[in-house]
């Protein structure tokens, strides 16, 4: 499986790298980097930007009629990569505290990543061409039922994954505004 999933390997490596910087901070400051200090802020912002990219750019590409750069399969890889590394960085940003709206945002992040993995699993049940287009040509009758089933699951999955994403970003925006109000811009 991993042989075809370059994005997972790259995501894994990026997460290792992020974890390494986190580990260095732990060693040098001997404390968990606080969410509101320089390192915590930076990694939170970077993680958020990656997540923003993963949602907006992928959706744009998928649904736009005029913006047609790159193949969908590649875009999915990009979506998965940023959708893993971004949330991982956000997780490091939390300083392992999950109270209030920030905690809800973190929870939603976790849920959507999990949902993403599930979607990925369902996705692979549908045979596709190298371009990622469904290819019913190689499928026999028995598999047709399984295929139809898989398609239904995929649709269902979309009704979960996307609303969660919207809720997540709403929460994230409110969290950012609150942080700005109560902390960053505080005199």
């Amino acid at each position: 499986m991993l042989g075809n999933s370059k994005e997972l390997i790259f995501a894994f490596l990026a997460c290792i790298f992020s974890a390494a910087t986190y580990g260095a901070m732990l060693i040098f400051t001997r404390q968990i980097p606080a969410a509101s200090e320089f390192y915590g802020h930076t990694i939170g912002i970077l993680g958020f930007l990656l997540m923003l990219a993963t949602e907006t750019l992928y959706s744009l590409r998928k649904h736009s009629r005029s913006a047609r750069w790159g193949r969908m399969a590649n875009w999915l890889q990009f979506h998965i990569f940023t959708g893993i590394v971004g949330p991982f960085m956000v997780l490091l940003h939390t300083s392992w505290k999950f109270s209030g709206l920030a905690g809800v945002t973190a929870l939603l992040t976790g849920v959507i990543v999990l949902s993403g993995f599930i979607g990925r699993y369902i996705y692979t049940r549908i045979p596709r061409t190298a371009d990622g287009i469904e290819d019913p040509g190689v499928v026999g009758e028995m598999q047709a039922a399984a295929l139809a089933n898989a398609r239904r699951l995929m649709s269902l999955w979309h009704t979960v994954h996307i609303p969660i994403g919207m809720a997540l970003f709403t929460a994230a925006f409110v969290h950012i505004l609150g942080a700005l109000y109560y902390a960053t811009l505080l005199k």
């Binding site: 109270s99 209030g100 920030a102 109000y181 109560y182 505080l186």
Partner: protein, 445 residues
Amino acid sequence: MFNPGPLNAKAGTPLGEVTSHAEIGKDCGQCHPAFWSAQSMSDLCLDCHVKIQGEIGDTTSLHGLLIQGNSLTCQSCHTEHHGVDAALTVMDSASFPHEKTGFDLSGHQTRSDGIPFACSDCHTQGFSTFDQQSCVDCHRPLDQVYIDAHVLDFGEVCLTCHDGVDRYADFDHSLVTFALTGAHLQVGCSECHLNARTIPDLQNTLVDCEACHLLDDAHAGKFGEQCGVCHSSDGWKPAIFDHNRADFRLEGKHIEVPCENCHTDGFISTPKDCYSCHKQDDKHNGVYGTACESCHNPSAWVDATFDHSLSTFPLDGAHVNVECAECHIGGVFKGTPLECAACHAEPDFHLGMFTGQACSTCHTTAVWSPALYDGPHTFPINHGEEINTCADCHQPNLTQWICYPCHERAEVDRKHIEEGISNFSDCLRCHPTGLKEESGEGGDD
């Protein structure tokens, strides 16, 4: 919803009608002003914490010291949202501006056992107090002998002199107005800085010699209190005094005389006249008075110079270079006879012819001979060029005379015999005026 962590709930002094922050936790605006409002978070803190508000401006208080027109805010040291029992002050000794309290921690970063200092190592009873006994409690075990002596010398209130900056080890005394030189370098601090308890005490230590050395005065006060005139910090001996500063220059033999030989009773009123010291050296037995300096000078007694023209017998001619003792026999000067004969006995040469006449009739002080005779003389005095003095013709004395050897005997003999004169023993019989031509009168006798 936006609360990042529980507020401290420890009950404390009631302020603003609550005893902990947790009690106002529902109202974020009690502490968090909108960023567009004029108030800062510190202003909201001080609205309730009025005691701290009162400290600002009072530099004797902790907060007044720390917050002095700099950018420190409450949040610089205080924190919240870390839990119901979490500390509200987060500070380590590295970030706390301790020098604002008047004590710099640069020398107190690590204890003698290598462990970094914690605040409580010195502030044993909380931060707002400091008991100076803490200094001694740490430092005494490190060097008991020194600390015990030091406390005795300078007292127990360490902070009156010590501000945390190590400025007393290898103290460069040349930085202050009294440079330590010579023997002063070996003296311990407290020997001069007696009972100093504060830095002004140290700075106001008296710097004149007698402040410390009055008891060392070997002169029992006889020479006043200006020790530095003769003594230096190199040591009491040798005492060096530039005598030119006094009203009596030391010259000649006076230079080597020990101070006490002249200064038998103090320095200042020592008499300056010769006689006061040299009375017993007076070889003239007082005959010439007490103004020794009119003849004598400090180089040596025998170097006496006397302006003889001041006396009744001015020296001139050959008299000038005569030793005093040749005329002044036995040290007698006044009353030395003035007549020539007193020193100069009449020579046998005169054969008593001029007795009663003054020597100066013929003689001057320039030289005895030639004498200038101006008296009766039948034979011309200016006879011949070789004749200068009486003795050239009058030999062996003035009543006799000779014509030889000026006139060579052999020649005279020959000439007379040629002329047929045989008796020419009395030259003046034929030559009464010394002329050759007179010889006609002589003829043959």
